[in-house]
């Protein structure tokens, strides 16, 4: 019996797919095809879901995320390459050097389209090169080129240099100096957009891989091309409606003032939930101070990006998360300092949320006399910039902070673990868990760690459907629903900024998948798919040593209350959190230790991942 050829694998793939991943060893330069059976594609869709399946199969159990054996997967999706708005996204998936568990991060634009059109549903990188290299993939296959001249450049500079060297048609995802130095929260970026969370850039840096360059070589066939075009037209029309107005008109930074008014804006390392100087950093204020330019990803009709001129004429892509993390969280209110901090994070290639979270923790340590770095004070913009520089170059205090807040707190001790605001090692995003208690659960139980893109339960908290200060059964249901929806959107892939346009999301998503793949997929099937993907992530973490205590929040949130302007006190007790987690486990078919029953595994077709 002969092994199937690449052409053979592609031939039998469902529409929207190639049925094969490329596993590239950057140490040897050898590329091996990995068959992706139709059942796997239907069961995990693509993006984060398919990436999870690949990690189960390709990552050795217990592998050091920075070791050569650790795989790093760029995963595409069935929708990418179609005209469906916001579909030009890709997932990067690996075992995180920050959390030691699964991480998947999404980025957007032309790399996704060109990457898919290399003829693979995923590119998995293994091994490690002895010298800096760039991986090229196109119709001629894969090859490695020297990247010595690129080493030390920012991702944007490396991209520009490679585009010039390689010529038209190449799309590039690269790391900055922080990735090269294996800062544990380094990013991978393409065209200024980062696969940001969990330290994927460090995984790439550990392989001495500066960049991956892809060029389209083939087309992606849809099952019903005409139907896809009609659906794309309808979805585009919806994308101009009120559900996306916030993203179009002010961008995600519109959250800042609203969250401040709602006492959900984490400030000074989560010691407070409002920031008096928030108006100075608001989208409303910044857009009046200086001209803002709107932009968007390829194949997107929303155009959420708002780019501000920073110091020295730099263009700074501004989002709520980078402003929250480098502004209020560090007590910094100077817009120039915050924009410059954001620009430096981009240049180094580090995750702004983890950077801000780790620096804010260090600022509090200095305040409490636990770290001897008098220069690092809340509210000091210059100190913030110095801290980022030291992290990006792993100099001075930066050598410690580049490890992330969990490891740094373990090193410093003195009770600083209680105010190191992370879950599983991943620093918290800009959502205060005490005043958003469905989100508190979402943050605690998520496989990736404290994260707002894999659990958007804050939306239920802010809907008025339940009391956001009194966690209970409805909060649990909301957290599960949010996690499930994210699992599908991150796997199909569609941008979550589109989520508000769907009235019956699972049915509407199934309809899109039917057009692209020809499958008779239904909304109910997608609900099971969502549960499968969420559980598959948990299973990966379980095999890597996850324990129940990892589904928890830092001590600060459970021992310190917040006083609200309304006169109410926001308290999240350990008992409330434990009860919500218990209920979450029951609803997910897990035992009280967070392990799925064999019946549940069987129901969801997950037995193969544990056998």
């Amino acid at each position: 019996m002969t092994a199937p050829t690449l052409a053979g694998l592609r031939e039998k793939a469902p529409a929207g797919y190639f049925g094969v991943a490329a596993a590239v060893d950057v140490g040897t330069g050898i590329t091996t095809p990995v068959e992706l059976p139709a059942t796997v594609l239907r069961g995990y869709l693509g993006g984060a879901g398919l990436g999870t399946w690949l990690m189960h199969h390709l990552a050795p159990v217990g592998v050091d995320p920075l070791a050569p054996d650790a795989p790093l997967a760029f995963v595409f999706s069935p929708l990418v390459g179609t005209p469906l708005t916001t579909s030009a996204k890709f997932a990067v998936v690996a075992k995180s050097p920050l959390t030691g568990m699964l991480t998947d991060a999404l980025a957007s634009s032309h790399f996704a389209i060109a990457g898919k059109r290399t003829g693979y549903d995923a590119i998995v990188i293994r091994g490690s090169s002895e010298r800096p290299v760039v991986l090229l993939m196109d119709g001629d296959g894969s090859r490695l080129e020297d990247a010595k001249s690129l080493w030390g450049l920012s991702a944007a500079e490396a991209e520009a240099s490679l585009r010039e060297r390689l010529g038209k048609g190449w799309q590039i995802a690269a790391i900055g100096p922080a990735g090269e130095r294996q800062v544990r929260f380094a990013t991978i970026s393409h065209d200024g957009r980062h696969a940001g969370r969990g330290g994927l850039g460090a995984v790439m840096g550990a392989k001495c891989l500066k960049a991956v360059a892809v060029r389209a070589a083939t087309k992606v066939a849809s099952f019903d091309p005409k139907g896809v075009v009609e659906a794309a037209r309808a979805l585009s029309t919806l994308s101009f409606g009120p559900a996306t107005a916030k993203y179009r008109e002010l961008g995600t930074l519109a959250n800042l003032l609203a969250f401040n008014a709602l006492s959900t804006l984490p400030t000074r390392n989560f010691q407070e939930a409002t920031f008096a100087d928030a108006p100075r950093l608001s989208a409303e204020h910044l857009s009046q101070l200086s001209g803002v330019v709107r932009s968007g990803c390829a194949s997107c009709t929303i155009g959420c990006e708002h780019i501000y001129p920073g110091l020295g004429g730099k263009n700074v892509r501004v989002e709520y998360e980078n402003v929250f993390a480098l502004g209020p969280l560090c007590g910094v209110s100077d817009p120039d300092a915050v924009l410059e901090a954001s620009a430096r994070c981009d240049a180094f290639g580090i995750d702004t949320i983890s950077a801000g979270g780790t620096i804010a923790w260090a600022m509090e340590c200095v305040e409490r006399g636990l770290i001897d770095a008098e220069w690092l004070r809340f509210g000091d913009g210059a100190a913030l910039l110095r801290a980022i520089d030291e992290i990006g170059s792993r100099r001075g205090l930066g050598a410690l902070l580049a490890e992330g807040s969990r490891r740094a707190a373990e090193h410093v001790g003195g009770g600083s673990e209680a105010f190191a605001c992370h879950v599983k090692g991943l620093e918290l995003p800009g959502y205060e868990p005490r005043t958003l208690q469905a989100m508190a659960l979402g943050l605690a139980v998520n496989a990736r760690g404290a994260d707002h893109n894999r659990s958007g339960a804050y939306e239920a908290d802010l809907s008025g459907r339940h009391d956001r200060l009194a966690g209970g059964a409805s909060h649990v249901a909301a957290a599960i629903e949010s996690e499930d929806r994210a699992a599908i959107m991150d796997s199909m892939i569609l941008c979550k900024f589109l989520r508000g346009v769907f009235v019956e999301p699972y049915e509407e998503w199934a309809s899109l998948l039917r057009l692209v793949t020809g499958w008779d997929v239904t909304g109910d099937e997608l609900r099971r798919t969502a549960a499968r993907i969420v559980l598959a992530k948990r299973l990966f973490n379980l095999r890597e040593g996850w324990a129940r205590e990892d589904d928890w929040l830092p001590g600060r949130f459970l021992s310190e209350s917040l006083e609200l302007e309304s006169g109410r006190t926001a308290t999240l007790s350990a008992e409330t959190l434990r009860e919500m987690i218990d209920a979450y486990y029951v609803a997910r078919g897990l035992d009280q230790e967070g392990t799925p029953s064999s019946e549940r595994l069987s129901e969801l077709g997950l037995i193969e991942l544990v056998s």
Binding site: N255, E284, E459, G567
Partner: protein
């Protein structure tokens, strides 16, 4: 008065919707409405429990007994109000509820020269005692006070609370509408003065910060600033409670923040 008091119009809502909503804001817990069997109360949020009075003609203690029994295991202290108190303020409710302590089972304000048993707070555990009084046909609220540890709060004590002094300086929270003239006089007064702020895309061009308006409900406030209360909009009252119910009652001094329901980033 021509129609049931509970359903009298109040700035686009009804008395019962307003009073129940204000109590809900004041107590930070469940709300139970006790009605005469079959009494219509109009459209109310699902979060309110509506129960029938077990036996009519038992006066306020009958309703109190049903309400306290319904709250067993769901709270320790209940604020009790009649439905004809549309000027009730959440700060008043909080102050009265806060007076009940380890040593005190009930707090009955003494305002405007009268004891106010239907603008008062009672420990939920008094339910059996109230039931005993009903069984003994001792139907006056004063019989309950004789049998429990209670305190009063007079005008001075109530106004010592900075929030009560600021938002209800005339202690209008205890105003009852006993007849048509009372109703018309109260209804002719201005709606509460509130501040409204719109965020993000909801903010009108050129408008910054808070504007002061008169509005008795969230819907009126939204109309006043031209914000549609559709699924893409939510409002926060005083940076806390989130709602998009147009009949959500507003009280003097409230700050209403209208924000996009698409909250994330």
């Amino acid at each position: 008065m021509g129609s049931p008091k509970a359903l009298l119009e109040w700035h686009g809502s009804t008395l019962v919707r307003r009073v129940a909503g204000i109590v809900a804001r004041g107590v930070d817990g469940p709300v139970v409405l006790v009605r005469a069997p079959g009494q219509a109360l109009g459209c109310l949020p699902d979060s309110f429990d509506v129960l029938d009075d077990v036996e009519e003609g038992k006066g306020p203690l009958g309703g109190l007994c049903v309400g306290l029994e319904a709250l067993a295991d769901r709270g320790e202290i209940a604020y009790v109000s009649s439905t004809d108190a549309p000027l009730l303020h959440p700060a008043f409710v909080r102050r009265v509820v806060g007076e009940v302590s380890e040593e005190i089972d009930a707090c009955v304000p003494y305002v405007r020269g009268f004891r106010q048993p239907l603008a008062a707070a009672y420990r939920v555990s008094l339910a059996p005692l109230v039931a005993d009084l009903l069984a003994a046909d001792r139907l006056r609220p004063s019989f309950l006070l004789e049998a429990c540890r209670w305190s009063d709060l007079d005008d001075v004590a109530l106004l010592a609370d900075p929030d009560v002094a600021r938002f209800d300086p005339g202690l209008d929270s205890v105003t009852n509408l006993n007849n048509q003239a009372d109703y018309e006089a109260a209804r002719a007064g201005p709606a509460p003065e509130v501040q409204v702020e719109c965020f993000g895309v909801l903010r009108a061009p050129g408008r910054r910060g808070r504007v002061t308006i008169h509005a008795a409900t969230l819907g009126s406030a939204a109309d006043a600033v031209g914000v549609p209360l559709n699924p893409h909009v939510v409002a926060a009252l005083n940076g806390d409670q989130i709602s998009r119910d147009p009949e959500e009652p507003l009280a003097q001094g409230d700050v209403v923040s209208f924000v996009s329901a698409e909250a994330g980033g």
